[in-house]
Symmetry: D2
Subunit: 259 residues, 4 copies
């Protein structure tokens, strides 16, 4: 789960009214076409679509995802979050202004002090113990995605790092929006209902909008226009690695089903 689930789960009860028989009215759009992010997303084309509308996501919405797939995903997502916290710590080092250092510090704290305990708690509901999760080897896809982001952030500057991180936060929001629009999505008797609720809630959507606006501001300061080809290459690579992360979970379900 992503660095906002905390807020989402915290307010879940307030959002209870949005789920059930009918879908919520979406008042505020996600700004998916806005600024630098919008341009990157458009130019990532089918790579982006293959990620946000992945079979794994659609099956989550329909409640048909094999439990083994979801459990595999949850464990790898736990391992992912540790590296994700390190990536935000890295953003704090890369920052040159106190405002950017503070923003990065807040993100790290949100991940390690709020989101990870919540994730651990959520996993416990699936009989996944933290001691076991931390001892599980990273899947190839987890290593590839997290180390790609960290290394790009180290080799490049803060903008390179944030572009590498962008598909994660925003993509989960768009996946939620796709589920909202999919007539086959259901929440009643859906074991993944809590997950869907989290990523379609207004608090999460607010985080997505905020990150899109922040990336555009950073892009302007850091010369994104002139650097666009390299930034797009980073964005597409990260998007493909996100897609591979879903596929990893999907295959875990297939193996069980076929076995």
């Amino acid at each position: 789960m992503r660095d906002d689930l905390s807020a989402v789960i915290d307010t879940e009860h307030d959002n209870e009214s949005i789920v059930g028989e009918h879908w919520p009215m979406i008042d505020k759009p996600l700004l998916l076409d806005h600024g630098l992010f919008g341009r990157l997303r458009r130019d990532a084309g089918t790579h982006w679509k293959s990620y946000v509308a992945h079979d794994f996501v659609l099956a989550l919405g329909r409640g048909t995802l094999p439990e083994a797939a979801f459990r595999h995903f949850l464990v790898q997502d736990y391992l992912f979050l540790i590296q994700f916290a390190r990536a935000h710590a890295l953003a704090g080092f890369k920052a040159t202004t106190l405002a950017d250092i503070r923003a990065a510090a807040a993100s790290v704290s949100a991940i390690v002090d709020v989101e990870m305990p919540l994730h651990v708690n959520y996993c416990a509901g699936w009989n996944l113990d933290e001691v076991d999760m931390v001892a599980t080897p990273e899947a190839l896809e987890t290593t590839a995605y997290t180390r790609f982001v960290l290394e790009r952030g180290l080799a490049g500057d803060l903008l390179d790092l944030q572009v590498a991180l962008a598909p994660c936060l925003v993509g989960y929001g768009e996946s939620g929006e796709i589920l909202l629009a999919d007539p086959k999505t259901r929440l009643d008797d859906n074991p993944y209902r809590e997950w869907i609720t989290a990523y379609t809630s207004e608090p999460y959507r607010a985080l997505v909008r905020n990150s899109i606006i922040t990336l555009d501001r950073l892009g302007t300061e850091c010369g994104a226009e002139a650097r666009y080809p390299q930034l797009l290459a980073t964005f597409i690579a990260a998007t493909k690695l996100e897609e591979a992360f879903w596929s990893m979970g999907w295959r875990a379900g297939q193996v069980t089903r076929d076995g």
Copy 2:
């Protein structure tokens, strides 16, 4: 000021009884001789003593430090703290366990969310405005010390980084202890009373003890014994840069006095 001032100033009123006509009983020693830190401190010899018992420190205790020296120091300490926050963010990236990531995140938050606002507030009492401070160029000594720590932390591992950071936190505690023992130190009518109180208070001393114990644990995990010559070189270099930082402030006072 250092990443604990927050706790210190918060509890200042509780410590009020320790100042005034007589000095506090020091129940718990600072553990200055303990473990890896103790060995580094002993082997740094006169470099260490020149730093912790610097004329700047002694003059603070006696209340004789020229105001220009202290004000120069406060501004450069503000600029130092920005880089110090980045160094702790870097420790979060360098960490490999969730516990170490959390510890680093807590340090960064303590610096940017608590200590820096307090420092800015304290500086305002000396008519130093944050907008002016952030626009002040770094002194050579500020650049040298902060970039040395950051670069050592990037080139080496977490232990290298923490050894480079150690003289700062512990040294201020030992300077406080030296002032406690100096019969010429006075708190009444001393314009620097608040600063002295902070670094001789039990909360700060607890931080010092904790960091000394943590460094020893990290040293054991990371093979400090075998790496000792390199670690000592780092420690001595950082100690000399701390001494140069005090000397920078001291000279600012001399210039004014002589001018």
Copy 3:
């Protein structure tokens, strides 16, 4: 191919006598059990064996590897080498002595000025054009392995980096030794003869021995004994990523064969 193929191919003609009807006498062992490397290799157990005796390697020796598998491998190995050069450049930054900086500089130059031109030339013999190779997207396995090594090297110190790099250089040497001992290996009419010759030649074997000895020296200086659990985790992760790299190539052959 690895950072020694240059020397190997240069001296190929001198080694001509070793190939053909009978295998060479191996006078000097590879030192696979020596020092820190030997301990890591033993403790990596089946992970190590699965890598060095991978089906891809055995099929190379027998000349039965599908050409598509080898060609896929060659392209990804080209992309790997670019990142491999960056990893050695990183070692130059991480070094603290002039001798270690020089050694890293020599490795980078060997890769970019000698080995890559040779690799490009060798690929041309397989009708693989450099312009096409540089435009080929990295496979997931290539990204995972290279970024893992780079990121470990950045987060840790020079020893962490060199342990992450060790499976590559030494493993290819041991794979060569396994082919020498495999009665099914043949060089006559083997399209991969040149590759096998390279990694079983004395110049390559000398490089392997040298790197094993150097790692042990670095380990002693950097406290490998106390850091062993973390180092072993790095070594095993890198070994598994190397195995995944071979599997990637192997699957490329299966796809073609089955298709």
Copy 4:
């Protein structure tokens, strides 16, 4: 000395005709006003002038520099070169194209394999032994300048690193040009003749022109226009640190003279 002295000293004898009674015709200008560098130099204003026309430089040209100042400078320049080599190795890691990796590798090799041996040899002529130099502690100015460059390069991207490095290479070339134009400069009976000859020779001037052109190309690719305020801050900071490096040497001469 800087990463080109090698070429310069190699061709010294060919340039012999340019020194002596009259100054050489300068056919090709240094391109000091060209592109991104030209803009940074203009905007650095008096900081730049204070560096390139430093008293240390002018006294070198006149042969009046105290020997103690020059010897102190030579030792610190040796220590500087070790870090300078690491900075160029870092550029190799930061590079994303094979061409940029190759350029960085060539720079590192030029420094450690050619320039440092020449510098050591030149120092031996001043009775400065390498064993003693490597054991000499870095001056505050050496630490400040080198770690500032390395840290900026790590926190930012390749352009940030190259902007931080630019004052060094180009500044020495402009200092040479200032000496050429200064009627008080003399080569006959000037103990620093070899140093002056090196930095006013055509091979060094070619390096300066080349680096100015390369920086402009990199700036265009990396969005220098939008990032200009931050780049200028880096350039000015590095320029002031270079000036401080000369001042360090100058003071070493004053101490001796006054002592």
